[in-house]
Symmetry: C2
Subunit: 262 residues, 2 copies
DNA sequence: GCCGCGCATTGATCCTTCGCAATGCGCAGG
DNA sequence: CCTGCGCATTGCGAAGGATCAATGCGCGGC
């Protein structure tokens, strides 16, 4: 949030916090106070949202778009340690700064709460506090899922895992995951280099692994950034981790959408 | 905590909670209440502390020993997603269960707080709540550090990263990290298969990578589980991530101990 | 003291992936 | 329309790691 956003603080009223996941259960007065301190900020794809190790002056929620958390290595390379989508929360509270930078992977809009005010609110509202706690817990779960994906020795397996994770992670984001017939269609909001960094490999290997999966009929490559997963089951086995991403919920999604299509 | 510990609940009074990191700042009455509900439990190396996905009935703190968090894969393999040392906190609060199991890597003693009572206390004590929050944040940082290590394409680099992480992580544990002359001596509380799982590779590769580092003079292998790191700097470069583990604090440790040895 | 077992290491071979170079494709600017 | 640029893909030789098998080592049981 240290970077100068293209659009300065937007209208404070237009952001309906109640629509954010979990926020509908906050008591009315707390919502009002949040509403009063929130600042809306826009970023273009590629812009830096937070500099690594910079004093973090805001706690933020992603309103639209996709952000990537990344660590810049001394040799110039960078490693992605996670992505943030609609409704995700980021920023420090109470201590320290973030050890990674955050960049906009797509055009994005952020709701920012000045840190001091947010912390004060945290102390007064157990509900908000618990919301944050639960968020951190699930973030931790996700980080561990990611670790398991990364520990897969084969690029193919890691890629399969990543695709599954993205599917479940992007479910809630409009137009990125859709079900067509008996297949799941996914728009990958990351470039090939991004994916390669994420998986600890190179673009070429990603390309090869992806096409290998396509050749084996597990998925179709509609466009470089648009995949159609034809065999979720096989992909899960490929990843070697069944409950990795919440595949169950994905399968439910598929069934539900297939049923409604009947 | 569902497993039957060899020794049943120990004496409640003998556990001095104030000695735990962070706990000395809790207000007296809260400490008293924690003291009242805590149960001490012992586990032998290899025993299961918590079953994955089992209803988690306790929130726990490691008192002595090392635990490993691991995910059991359907094909029988298992992946380690983290280790817990003295003072670390684990267990769910408010929702869900853990998606990984916890095993004792060494003989271990833990302090267990019944979940319901602990949660009630959390709601009444902002200090305890914040302690948990901060703990989760640093746990998240660690998970991300680990991700970066795992994303390293070369086994050698991942191993270097793991060693550094272990050094800083085990600093606080007696007799595991010591400084002798200009070298750091570290006892690895994990077996080779454990390390291999952790790094997403096999025992053979771990062995080869370790001996390669030894051949290059970065470290000495005193015993299979006892390493003497001779060149922290080079090891850090090998890992490709400078502030990965808190190497700075390690260097400070080295300097401090060297100075005191003069 | 001998044996068997678990663990770490070493060796040899095969497969995967890396790393570099070249090609193909879409797109914006001249 | 052509050109240059960015990105994805493909090909190929070389390096690294996986895999299987065999050897050493420490330790508890007999």
């Amino acid at each position: 949030m240290q970077e100068t956003p293209r659009e300065a603080a937007g209208s404070k009223s237009s952001a309906n916090l109640r629509l954010l996941p979990g926020f509908d259960e906050l008591p009315e007065p707390i919502l009002k106070e949040l509403q009063a301190i929130v600042v809306r900020r826009s970023f273009e794809a590629g812009q830096t949202v937070v500099e690594a190790d910079a004093p973090s002056r805001f706690t933020c929620i992603v309103r639209t778009g996709i952000l990537r958390m990344q660590k810049d290595l001394p040799d110039g390379r960078q490693h992605i340690v996670g992505i943030l989508v609609e409704g995700d929360l980021f920023g420090r509270v109470f201590n320290g700064n973030m050890h990674f930078s955050i960049e906009a992977a797509t055009d994005a809009e952020i709701l920012a709460f000045p840190r001091a005010a947010f912390e004060a609110l945290l102390l007064r509202s157990p509900e908000l506090d618990r919301l944050l706690l639960l968020h951190l817990l699930s973030e931790l779960d996700r980080a561990r899922d990611w670790m398991i994906i990364l520990a897969n020795p084969k690029v193919r397996g890691r890629l399969a895992g990543l695709l599954l994770l993205l599917c479940t992670r992007l479910q809630t984001v409009d137009h990125l995951v859709t079900v067509s017939g008996r297949a799941v269609r996914v728009r990958i909001p990351l470039s090939r280099p991004d994916v390669a960094h994420l998986l600890g490999t190179r673009v070429e290997s990603v390309s090869r692994a992806l096409h290998a999966l396509a050749d084996d009929g597990l998925l179709d490559i509609v466009r470089p950034d648009l995949l159609e997963i034809r065999n979720l089951q096989a992909l899960t086995e490929e990843a070697g981790e069944p409950d990795l991403a919440d595949t169950a919920s994905l399968l439910r999604l598929v069934k539900a959408m297939r049923k409604s299509a009947d």
